[in-house]
C-alpha cells in the first residue's frame, strides 16, 4: 500500500475494431463514434485555421507600410471580414467542440455521446459552412465586407443588385453554424447531465466537463438571439423589410443588441473550455491537486449566468443611455470575480509544485500569462470612460487577440499536445513542441503587444492605410504575425510525423489521474470494457486515493 498504480488496469489494448487495423478511412465517413468525430472536428477546424491565417498574413502584409499598396481597399475589407468569420465560426468553435467531443464521454465514463447520430450531423455541417464562406469569393461582388459583426446599414448594402451576394451567403453560413452548435449544445448538456458513470456526481466531474457544460449552456441561451437577428437581417436584404433600416422606420442599433447578446457570451463559450484545459493540465504537471476544485467548478457556471448580462459594453458609443452604460460597466467588471478566482486557483496549484515543463505545460503557462494580460486590458475596456476613448481602435484588436490567440489558441495547443498520445497512441516530438511554443509565445507578444500602444495613440481598426506616426508599431506587429505564421510549421511537422511514425505511447504517459487515462491509447470503440465506478474527487495527486472501485479492489488485494 505505497503507490497507486496509475496505469490502466485490466483493459485490453485493442484497436477501435477489435482485431482489425486502425482504419484511417473512418475519418472520412459518417462515423457516429465520438472519438472519430472529435478528431474530424479538430483536423477540419485546423485546416480553416490555416485559411484564416493566410488572410491574417495578407492583412499584416498590407499594414507593414502606411499606404494601401499590397491589396486594394475592397480586398482588405474582404480579408478582415473573412479572417474574423473563418477564425471564429470555423476554427475556434469547431476546434473546441472537437476537443470536448473527444474528451467529455471519456472523462465522465460514458460509452458515447447521448445522441451519436445527431453528433455526426452537427459535425458534417461544418464543411458546409466552410464551403459557403469560402465559396462567397466566387459570387459577383465577392464576399461580405462588413466585418464579422455584419452591422446594418453596412451589411445591407447591395451595389451589384444580385440576390445571392457574399453577405447573404455569410448569413446562411452563420445560420447553419448556429443550427450545428445548437445540436451540439443539446447533445453535450444531455450527455453530461444524464450519462455520467455510476458514482460520478457533479462534484466528482473533472473541471473540463464543468466548463464544457457551462459553455454549452451559453450556446443554448445565446445563439437563438443571434439567429433571430440574422433572420431579420436576411429578410431586410432579400425581401426589403425595414427591421434595421432607419429610412423604413427600423432601428439598426437593435441588431447590435441581438448580435452582442450572443456574441459577447460567445467569448466565454470559447474561453471556458480553455479554463477547463488549464484546470486539467496544471495539476498533472505540478503533481498537486487542483486548488479549490469545487469553487473553480462552480465559478464556471457563475460565468455562464453573469455573461448573459454584459453585452451592452459593446454599445457604449451606440447612443446608449447613461444608466445602461453604468449598469453594464458594473456587470462586466463582475465577470472578473469568477475569472479571478480561477486564476488564483491555478496559481495556487502551481505554487510549490514539482513542475515538469513539457510542451503542454509550457503552452498552459504561456496561455495563463497571456490570459492575465488580456484580462487586465479587458477590465480597462469595460470601464466606459476608457472605452469611449479607445473604442474601435487597435487597443481593442490587441485585447481580443490576446484572448483569442494568447489564451484560447495556446490552451488548445496545450490540450492537443497533452491528449495527443491518448488520441493517436503515439508520442509527439518534445523538441519540435518546445520550438513551436517559443515561436508562438514570442510571435504572439510581438504581434499583439504593439497593437495596444498604437490603439492608445488612436489608430483606428479596419483600415488599409494609416498615419505614418503609427508605422513603428505596425512593423513590429507584422513581424510578429509572420513569426506566428511560421510557428505553425513545426506543429504540423510534429503532428504528421509523430502520428505516422512516433514512439508508441503508453496508456498513461503523464501519470495523470482521470478516467480517460485508464483506457488504452487510442481507446477502444466502446471506451470502457466495463463502466467504471467512480469513488473519489478528481485531481487526487499525492493523496494515494484510488479513483475507481476497480482500483480500490486491486489495492485491497495487493
Amino acid at each position: 500500500m505505497t503507490n497507486i498504480p496509475v496505469e490502466a488496469i485490466g483493459v485490453a489494448r485493442e484497436q477501435p475494431y477489435p482485431g482489425a487495423p486502425d482504419n484511417w478511412k473512418r475519418f472520412f465517413s459518417f462515423s457516429t463514434d465520438h472519438k472519430v468525430i472529435g478528431i474530424q472536428y479538430l483536423v477540419t477546424s485546423f485546416f480553416f485555421f490555416l485559411v484564416g491565417g493566410i488572410f491574417a498574413m495578407i492583412l499584416r502584409g498590407e499594414l507593414i507600410t502606411p499606404e494601401a499598396d499590397l491589396v486594394d481597399r475592397t480586398v482588405y475589407n474582404v480579408m478582415f471580414t473573412m479572417h474574423g468569420s473563418v477564425m471564429l465560426f470555423l476554427w475556434t468553435f469547431p476546434s473546441l467542440l472537437g476537443l470536448a467531443n473527444y474528451l467529455v464521454p471519456l472523462m465522465i465514463g460514458a460509452r458515447d455521446m447521448a445522441f451519436p447520430r445527431l453528433n455526426a450531423v452537427a459535425f458534417w455541417m461544418v464543411p458546409v459552412v466552410g464551403i459557403l464562406m469560402i465559396g462567397s469569393f466566387l459570387v459577383p461582388g465577392g464576399p461580405s465586407q462588413s466585418g464579422w459583426w455584419a452591422y446594418p446599414p453596412m451589411s445591407m448594402q447591395n451595389p451589384t443588385g444580385n440576390l445571392i451576394t457574399g453577405q447573404v451567403l455569410w448569413i446562411l453560413a452563420v445560420a447553419i453554424s448556429g443550427v450545428s452548435s445548437i445540436m451540439g449544445g443539446v447533445n453535450f448538456v444531455t450527455t453530461i447531465v444524464k450519462m455520467r458513470a455510476p458514482g460520478m456526481t457533479f462534484f466528482k466531474m473533472p473541471v473540463f466537463v464543468w466548463t464544457v457544460l457551462a459553455a454549452q449552456l451559453i450556446q443554448l441561451y445565446g445563439l437563438p438571439a443571434l439567429t433571430a437577428g440574422a433572420v431579420m437581417l436576411l429578410f431586410d436584404i432579400v425581401f426589403g423589410t425595414g427591421f434595421f433600416d432607419p429610412t423604413k422606420g427600423g432601428n439598426p442599433v437593435l441588431f447590435q443588441h441581438f448580435f452582442w447578446f450572443y456574441s459577447h457570451p460567445a467569448v466565454y463559450v470559447i474561453i471556458l473550455p480553455i479554463f477547463g484545459v488549464f484546470s486539467e493540465i496544471f495539476p498533472v504537471y505540478a503533481r498537486k491537486p487542483l486548488f479549490g476544485y469545487k469553487i473553480v467548478a462552480v465559478s464556471a457556471l457563475i460565468i455562464t449566468v453573469v455573461s448573459g448580462i454584459v453585452w451592452v459594453h459593446h454599445l457604449y458609443v451606440s447612443g446608449t443611455p447613461g444608466w445602461m452604460r453604468m449598469f453594464f460597466m458594473v456587470t462586466t467588471m463582475c465577470v472578473a470575480v469568477p475569472t479571478g478566482i480561477k486564476v488564483f486557483a491555478w496559481t495556487a496549484t502551481i505554487w510549490g509544485g514539482k513542475l515538469r515543463l513539457d510542451t503542454p505545460m509550457l503552452f498552459a503557462l504561456g496561455g495563463l500569462i497571456n490570459f492575465v494580460f488580456a484580462g487586465i486590458t479587458g477590465i480597462m475596456l469595460a470601464s466606459t470612460p476608457i472605452d469611449l476613448h479607445v473604442n474601435n481602435t487597435y487597443f481593442v484588436v490587441g485585447h481580443f487577440h490576446y484572448v483569442l490567440y494568447g489564451a484560447m489558441v495556446f490552451g488548445l495547443f496545450a490540450a492537443i499536445y497533452h491528449w495527443f498520445p491518448k488520441m493517436t497512441g503515439r508520442m509527439y516530438y518534445e523538441g519540435l513542441g518546445k520550438l513551436h511554443f517559443w515561436l508562438a509565445f514570442i510571435g504572439n507578444a510581438l504581434n499583439f503587444i504593439p497593437m495596444h500602444p498604437a490603439g492608445l495613440m488612436g489608430m483606428p481598426r479596419r483600415v488599409a492605410s494609416y498615419d505614418p506616426e503609427f508605422a513603428f508599431w505596425n512593423v513590429l506587429a507584422s513581424l510578429g504575425a509572420f513569426l506566428l505564421g511560421m510557428s505553425t510549421l513545426p506543429f504540423i511537422l510534429n503532428m504528421v510525423s509523430s502520428w505516422v511514425q512516433g514512439k508508441k505511447a503508453p496508456d498513461n504517459p503523464w501519470r495523470a489521474i482521470g478516467l480517460e487515462w485508464l483506457v488504452s491509447s487510442p481507446p477502444p470503440v466502446e471506451n470502457f470494457e466495463e463502466l467504471p465506478v467512480v469513488i473519489a474527487e478528481p485531481y487526487g495527486y499525492g493523496k494515494n486515493e484510488p479513483l475507481t472501485e476497480a482500483q480500490r479492489k486491486e489495492l485491497a488485494e495487493a
Partner: protein, 200 residues
C-alpha cells in the same frame, strides 16, 4: 469484413443498452425547446422595443388589427392542447383507436388554426414590407405558424407509426415529445396573441 462489421454492430447494440435512451431523448428535447423559446423571446423583445419606440407604428391607412376571428383561432388552438392530452392518456392505457381518433382531432384543430390564419393574412391591408409593423406582424405570426405546421407533421408521423406493429415496445417517448411540442406552440401563441392583438 463481415465479422468485423458484425463485431462493430454488437458493440453498437451494447452501447445503446448501457444508457437510458428514452430518458435521454426526452431530456434532450426539453433542452432543445428551452433553447428554441429564446428565439421567440428575442422576437418578442424586438417587437416590444419597436412598438414602444417607433414614431409611426401603424402604416398609413391601417387602424389596427381585427381581434374577433383570431380570438376564435386562439380558442381552437388552446383547446387542442387538451385534446392531445386525452390522446396521450388513451395511449397510456394502450387504447390505440382512442389515441388515433384524438390525435386526428388535434391535427384537424391545428389545421383549422392555420386555415384561419391564412384567411386573416389574405384579408389584411398591409404586407411584409409595410414598415416595422408589417414586418414584425408577419415575422411573428409566420414563424409561429411554421411551428404549428411542424407540430402537425410530427403528429401525422406519430399517427402513421401507431400502425406499425411493436411500435411502442421501446416506450412512447416520440408521442410525449410531440405532445410537449404542441403545448409549447400553444403557450407561445398565447403570449403572441396578447402582444399583437390585445396590446394595440
Amino acid at each position: 469484413m463481415t465479422t468485423e462489421s458484425s463485431i462493430a454492430r454488437g458493440i453498437q447494440a451494447e452501447i445503446v443498452e448501457a444508457h437510458d435512451d428514452a430518458g435521454n431523448r426526452m431530456f434532450g428535447f426539453i433542452v432543445f425547446l428551452l433553447s428554441e423559446s429564446v428565439i421567440f423571446l428575442s422576437f418578442f423583445a424586438g417587437y416590444i422595443i419597436y412598438k414602444t419606440t417607433t414614431p409611426d407604428w401603424l402604416p398609413p391607412g391601417v387602424t389596427g388589427l381585427e381581434t374577433h376571428d383570431p380570438a376564435i383561432n386562439t380558442v381552437v388552438l388552446v383547446s387542442s392542447s387538451f385534446v392531445i392530452y386525452v390522446a396521450e392518456r388513451y395511449l397510456h392505457d394502450r387504447k390505440l383507436w382512442g389515441f388515433r381518433l384524438f390525435l386526428l382531432a388535434t391535427m384537424a384543430m391545428g389545421s383549422y388554426f392555420l386555415y384561419g390564419q391564412a384567411i386573416e393574412w389574405l384579408g389584411l391591408p398591409f404586407g411584409f414590407t409595410s414598415g416595422v409593423f408589417g414586418g414584425t406582424f408577419y415575422l411573428l405570426t409566420g414563424f409561429h405558424g411554421l411551428h404549428v405546421l411542424s407540430g402537425i407533421v410530427l403528429q401525422l408521423i406519430m399517427l402513421l407509426r401507431s400502425f406499425l406493429p411493436g411500435n411502442y415496445d421501446k416506450g412512447t417517448v416520440g408521442v410525449e415529445a410531440t405532445s410537449l411540442f404542441w403545448h409549447f406552440v400553444d403557450v407561445i401563441w398565447i403570449v403572441l396573441y396578447i402582444l399583437i392583438y390585445v396590446w394595440q
